[in-house]
Every structure is written in C-alpha cells, then in structure tokens.
C-alpha cells in the first residue's frame, strides 16, 4: 500500500477505562470484526484482571466500546500477557503468579477451563501457533515451554526449551509454519524448530549482537503478512528488520539475516512492535509515543529502507506497553499503557 507523507493521522477513537493499574498487553479476537460480528479485544493488567472489550454492533456507529467481562479472582499476581487461539474460542493468559490460564467463552461469561503450571516464576508471554494445536509460554525462569492442545481442554507439555541465559520476554510463532521465536533480557532472539525425526525441539538460530542484533533486552517481535520479514524492538532504542527466504521458510525453516536497523527515532525503551497486514509497523515506547513506519518505496538506491510515517506524541500519559493492529480492519490500532487505559485509534488520512 502506498502512503503519501504529511496527510496521515492517528485519530483517537476511544479511551477504555476500567483497569486500576498499568495495562501490559492486549489481543484482538481474530474471530470477531468480520461477518457482522463486533470486534472484541482482551486487555490484561497489573490489577490481576483481564478485561474483555467489545465494539458497538454495526449500525450503531455512534455507540462506544464497552467492557463486556472482567476475568478476575483466578490470577493472584499481574497478568502480563494474553492471546486468543486462532479460532477465537480460547484465551490464554500468562501471569507473574507462574501460571497460564485458559479461558473459554460460555454464553456471555468467560470461564477458566484450565490452569497450566510448571514454570518456576513469572510467566511473561503466551502464543498460539497458526493452527491452534500448540501453545508456547515463557518465563523469567529462562525457559520456553511448548504445550500440545488435546481434546477436552487438556494441555500436555511436549518440550521445555533451555537456551536463553536470562528472562525470556516474549514468544511468538511464525504466522504459517510451526517455528517458534523468542526474545530475551539476554539481548538475543532465538529461533526454535522441531526435529523431524525425533519430535524434539531445538534452537536452530540465535540472532545476537554478533549478527547485527540488539545490544540490550529485546522486548518484542512481529512478522509481516507474508512471513518473510520480522521486526524486533529493544531497550537499545532501536527497531531492527530481519528477513528470510519466503519459499524456504514456508517449507520448513530458513535462516534469518539482518536487513536494517532503525536508530535515532526512539528516546526510551521500545516495548512493543506490531506489523499490520497493510505493511505499517507500529511501535509503543517508554517515551509515551506511538510511531508508524513503512518500507521506503521512493526508489532511491542509497535511501533508507524504512521510513517513519508519523509520530503520535503523548499517545498516552505514561509508557506505551503494547500496540496491536486489528487483524481485519487493518487501520484500527489498539494500545495499552502504564496510565491504566487502553486506547483505540484509527489510522487515516487527514480530511
């Protein structure tokens, strides 16, 4: 998609208030926002709860987003991350209480149908693979766990991956193939794949400082829609783009290489990065701003490969912890912050 500089804006649609402590993360339900089903998102917080928010149903465009449910009294500490299964039926939540909750919508209520235990301490991130058959989790205990989803809401741990030397901040499956990516306080990104013969998972690549990688904690990563590019963001104040061979990757696993580093744009730690299906990369940082980047298509040979489209200063009153594009309405962005709010934004042309 082409973007013309200078006439774009990130317009605040609504501020969602209800959490009583910092909001860490959010997830759009992939089964909503299509076929007349109102969009839904989950947000999780230091207040130990998860809130489910729903868009006004179509035809009520003047209506506002509402909190439909509060998932509480299950996690006993901060809920750090949440992720919907690809079918949108299950929500996984990772908490500092060292457990993972699995929630199912039954009627209008959400029930905790399973609790996964095993990590030694704070769980920091949860991620479903593209088919919903596997769930990955990671923790301050430096390990990454892969759980197989069995019938009847049973989950069996199939592998415990050791390799990071410090907390693992985030896990993320590749969008098409069962290859897992993790990033860490040890400044690296690791790529994990299954060994075809032994059903064992192992680290196939480590992207570290020696490979033009990050020089401090890597907080998050995100893939483009074709799965051949990845963006990573860090406490080193840079955003990095990595690339691989699309065909080789989609047939199994291929090595990733550094493509470019976007430095000089962020003033404080970048906590979140998310790549929209339209190719717009959003970042959320500790300088309270949201920034949008796109691939530079002006054709100059020596020009930068990516450019900043816009910077929304003071997007929140405090640190921006998470930014997530909607999966279907690709111009809809949601963000979370230490200011205890979730915001819904529309990326649009200035009228």
């Amino acid at each position: 998609m082409e973007f013309i500089d200078g006439n774009l804006q990130l317009k605040e649609i609504q501020k969602l208030e209800g959490h009583t402590d910092r909001v860490w993360s959010l997830a759009w339900n992939p089964a909503t926002g299509v076929a007349g089903i109102p969009a839904m998102l989950a947000s999780c917080s230091g207040d130990k709860t998860v809130r489910i928010w729903q868009q006004p149903s179509s035809g009520q465009s003047s209506g506002s987003w509402e909190c439909k449910a509060v998932l509480e009294e299950t996690h006993t500490r901060t809920v750090r991350s949440c992720a919907w299964s690809p079918s949108g039926k299950l929500l996984a939540t990772g908490s500092f209480d060292a457990t993972i909750g699995i929630w199912e919508q039954i009627g209008n209520d959400f029930e905790c149908v399973a609790t996964l235990e095993g990590h030694e301490n704070e769980v920091k991130s949860v991620s479903w693979n593209s088919s919903g058959s596997l769930l990955a989790t990671c923790s301050r205990d430096k390990s990454v766990w892969i759980w197989e989803v069995l019938p009847g809401n049973e989950f069996e741990c199939v592998s415990v991956l050791q390799g990071h030397t410090q907390d693992v901040k985030m896990v993320q499956w590749h969008p098409f193939v069962d290859v897992l990516f993790s990033c860490s306080y040890d400044n690296t990104v690791k790529v994990w794949a299954e060994d075809g013969d032994s059903d064992d998972w192992h680290c196939v690549q480590t992207l570290g400082e020696a490979n033009n990688g990050h020089s401090s904690t890597v907080w998050a990563l995100s893939f483009n829609s074709t799965g051949d590019k990845m963006a990573t963001c860090s406490d080193d104040l840079t955003l990095k783009i990595w690339e691989t061979d699309r065909h080789a990757m989609n047939e199994g696993c291929a090595p990733w290489r550094h493509c470019c580093t976007l430095a000089g744009y962020h003033d404080r730690t970048i906590f979140s990065v998310h790549w929209s299906r339209d190719g717009v990369i959003a970042t959320g940082a500790a300088d309270d701003a949201i920034r949008l980047f796109v691939e530079n298509t002006d054709g100059s040979v020596d020009g930068p490969l990516y450019k900043m489209l816009l910077k929304k200063e003071k997007a929140h009153n405090m640190d921006v912890n998470s930014v997530q594009w909607n999966n279907t309405e690709t111009r809809l962005l949601a963000s979370t912050s230490d200011d205890a709010t979730v915001k819904i934004w529309e990326f649009a042309s200035v009228p």
């Binding site: 704070e122 920091k124 901040k169 009153n317 640190d319």
Partner: protein, 158 residues
C-alpha cells in the same frame, strides 16, 4: 547467630542542613509545578540503608549533586554510590530509590536510577535490572522484598 554484614563499619558523614520550605501562597492547583533537585533530594535523603541504621545521605550513598533533573523534559536521573564495591544490597537500594520516586513524583516523570560509574563490581547488571520495569513490577509483588523496601522507606515519610 548474627549474619556478617557486607560492610561492617561504614563511614558516617554529616548531613546537609535542612531548608524550611514555605508553602507557596498563590498556588495554581491545576498548574504544572516545576520540581527541582533539592525537592527530589528531600524525598530520598532519609531512606534508611538496608543494613545499617543510617540514612542514604549519612552514608553518602546519595548527595544532592547525584540528582539530575530536567523539568522541561520531565526527566530525573539518580546516581547512587554503594558503600563498598561488592555491595549485594545495591539492587535493594536502587529499588528503594525507584519506589520512593514512583510514589512521590507526578506520573509524567521518567526516572532512571543507576550506580555511579566505577563504584560497583557488577555495575551494568545492576543498572539493567533497576531500569527494567517488568522486573521492578515483579519484585514489588514479592511480599518479602516489598516489606524490606517499606522498612527502608519508613523514615523518609517522617
């Protein structure tokens, strides 16, 4: 048995004279009030050292000059000096400073806490930990650590 102290005989210094702060008469309740170095020093000078009955000021772990403020940019940096190079209490001291400033300063401030360059054996590791807000958040949910921090902070609220 009493466990061995990390620094059994710390040097205790005289403290700076206290200023009496007069309440400003024409306060704009909704205006942004600038904050200066002195004021931030007043918030943290009486924090008790985790292993001695002395304040961070008395042990010269912090001085007024170790506080940098850029009020326009809403930025504060506190640089502290552990009493000994291998002080295992450095992260607790840093955590105390961070918690006190989270509780005392308006939320618009960005705060960095660091060990003075060259004063600690594992300086980079301590600094990284103190400035990782996820680790700080998790630490403050640990009841033992929180009660230790609260005990050190108690005199600073007097």
């Amino acid at each position: 048995m009493v466990s061995a102290l990390i620094n059994a005989n710390p040097v205790v210094y005289e403290t700076k004279e206290r200023r009496v702060r007069s309440a400003p008469s024409d306060v704009d309740e909704y205006g942004i009030e600038p904050i200066n170095q002195e004021e931030i020093f007043d918030h943290v000078r009486d924090i008790k050292d985790p292993e001695h009955p002395y304040s961070l000021e008395e042990l010269k772990v912090i001085t007024e000059d170790s506080i940098e403020v850029d009020d326009k940019r809403n930025y504060v940096r506190v640089t502290f000096t552990p009493t000994v190079e291998h002080c295992s209490m450095a992260t607790v001291i840093g955590l105390c400073l961070r918690v006190k400033l989270i509780r005392s300063l308006p939320s618009r401030y960005k705060v960095d806490i660091r060990v003075a360059p060259g004063t600690h054996a594992t300086e980079a590791a301590v600094n990284k930990q103190l400035n990782d807000k996820e680790r700080v958040a998790a630490a403050l949910e640990n009841p033992n650590l929180l009660s230790m921090v609260d005990e050190c902070l108690a005199p600073s609220y007097a």
